[in-house]
């Protein structure tokens, strides 16, 4: 049983134009076994929330708390957060030339599990998870994300989710760039992960389409750096119909 508590979180980003506050007091609690959909229009700060939780150096948390089972996440380094049980499936996974996917996955699993997985079992485990995601086996020897299509990158993010088995997973627009078939495959893997592990999920998305495959327990509307409204799946239905106009003052669809 794990709990991620986000309390009055404020974060800003510094660019050439100066410092800009993006998160303006986020409050959210995610427990294992729960799927929270975080839905918001473009530029509302959804991705910033995910990066702030993961500890991206570009985003500075100016106040508030993030606690994982009572431990202060904000004091941890990026890798410590991952080892503590947090995982971020990124919207734009990074290419690391010259580092093979298999080497990367094994290094990550060794770090998160605290010991190197036994080679034979590991190979089998990776092969099975790759098969579930329809990832051809030759990807294991390719450089991390290098030359991957958008969909291939997203599948590999979920592959890492399946192998690293975090307590709390943040999936940042995992659905974007996926065609119907890929969305189905990826959603199935996420559902399998939540069914087989005592984990909580924050599903960040702009569109409602992934919610047809992954059923959220709670739906939050994220607007202007904070959660504007929370509810059940009926809230997603409402967004599907009316878009984000109510929250941003202009029409922005939540359905394709």
């Amino acid at each position: 049983m794990a709990t991620l508590e986000i309390k009055d979180l404020h974060a800003s980003v510094t660019t050439d134009e100066g410092t800009k506050e993006i998160l303006k007091g986020v409050n959210l609690t995610v427990r294992s076994g729960e799927v929270h959909a975080i839905m918001g229009p473009n530029g509302s700060g959804k991705s910033t929330l995910s990066y702030a939780i993961a500890g991206h150096p570009k985003y500075e948390v100016t106040s508030g708390e993030v606690l994982l089972d009572g431990e202060n996440v904000l004091e941890m380094s990026v890798d410590e957060r991952a080892r503590a049980g947090l995982f971020l499936a990124m919207q734009y996974p990074v290419e690391v030339p010259g580092v093979s996917m298999s080497n990367f996955l094994r290094s990550a699993a060794t770090a998160v599990r605290g010991e190197a997985p036994k080679l034979r079992e590991w190979v089998k485990e990776v092969r099975e998870e790759m098969a579930k995601l329809d990832i051809p086996s030759e990807f294991a020897e390719r450089s991390v994300n290098e030359g991957f299509s958008g969909g291939e990158k997203k599948r590999h993010e979920i592959l890492q989710l399946a192998l690293l088995k975090p307590k709390i997973a943040v999936l940042d627009e995992t659905d974007s760039g996926l065609d119907v078939d890929a969305l189905r495959v990826v959603s199935r893997a996420v559902n399998e992960f939540t069914a087989g592990n005592d984990a909580g999920v924050m599903l960040i998305t702009h569109y409602t389409r992934i919610l047809k495959h992954i059923k959220p327990d709670v739906v939050h509307v994220f607007a202007d750096g904070r959660i504007a409204e929370s509810g059940g799946t009926e809230l997603a239905d409402e967004l599907e119909e009316h878009g984000y106009v109510k929250y941003v003052g202009k029409a922005e669809a939540a359905a394709l």
Binding site: A54, G55, H56, P57, S77, V78, D79, R81, A82, R83, F87, L88, M90, Y92, P93, V94, E95, V96, P97, G98, V99, N103, F104, S107, A108, A111, V112, S143, V144, Q160, L164
Partner: protein
Amino acid sequence: MTVAENTTENNVRSALREGAVVPPSSRGERFTGYDVEAFEVPTGREEIWRFTPMKRLRGLHQGGDAVVPTGKVTLSVDAPPEVTVETVGREDERLGQAGAPGDRVAAQAYSSFTEATIVSVGAETTLSRPAVITVTGPGKDLLAYGHLQIRLAPYAQASLVLDHRGSGTYADNVEFITGEGARLTVVSVQDWDDDAVHVSEHHLQLGKDSTVKHTVVTLGGDLVRLSPTARFAAPGGDVELLGLYFADAGQHQEHRLFVDHAQPHCKSHVTYKGALQGEGAHSVWIGDVLIRSAAEGTDTYELNRNLLLTDSARADSVPNLEIETGEIEGAGHASATGRFDDEQLFYLQSRGIDEATARRLVVRGFFFEILNRIDVPELRQRLEAEIDEELQAIGH
């Protein structure tokens, strides 16, 4: 994905050049000669010396008392029986066949050596294992000169390691001469102690349809200036020039390449990659390629990439491409210098990998395309371990 390909003004004077730099005169017209006295004493302002810290050359370029040899290198050859190793005097008429020295220090070395080593492989002979030539420096505060020639007869095949270790000051010329259809793979490792100064010119001369893969790995030394020059004696040659360097605080590592395409249907492919870290770490890469009017059907590409691991390091990178005929297969170059990519670091760390391991993965990945092409497994493993050690020296 933000900065790896960007240049940083503070650190990179000329890292990313969009067009070929036009030298004041053709690269082909630059003076060469065997006699040191035929060269003027450089001031450091000349094009070929302007990146080199002249004060650290210990007078090698100046003549006089400073260039009198005070020591000797130890050269040992560990080679399979198919290899012939000879020690010859200056009068041996095979010496100098691959080309004349292109700067005063190389000419000083050519004018000063007393004996040379010729390592040869007979026609249609394939070495049963790589030959390893270890050159140990003369020792601290001592100066030595050397001359080495590698000869492959027609259709010979050989893999060779040239391993430089120890300390002192060393200037030398190394000739690589391949006969028709011969295939040579050579890795020259500059693994000197911290005090060493090494100025070296490698002269490659490729016979008809011969293939040479020449790899330079520079890790040690106070100052290393290595100038590989490749020439084709006949059509159909294929040369690959690979390089890996890792400059630490205070180290100057300079690689000056010249590929002279004067024969038709030859190929050259250059890939040099360097990492730099620490105060005063400085690398220089010059990639001159000349396609003369006779060299129709030439195919050439050169690439230099530098990875700045700390802010205080500096990489200079200057590709020069001169083309005198339009009848070529292809010609191109690329050069990029960037800081360590924080996004890569974040990505790896977000999967639980600690920062030191993540950095090691990224740097190893950066060098992978060079290391992966070193086909002597023991050497590749040793170099990987040494690169890991270099990384541990970063102040984190």
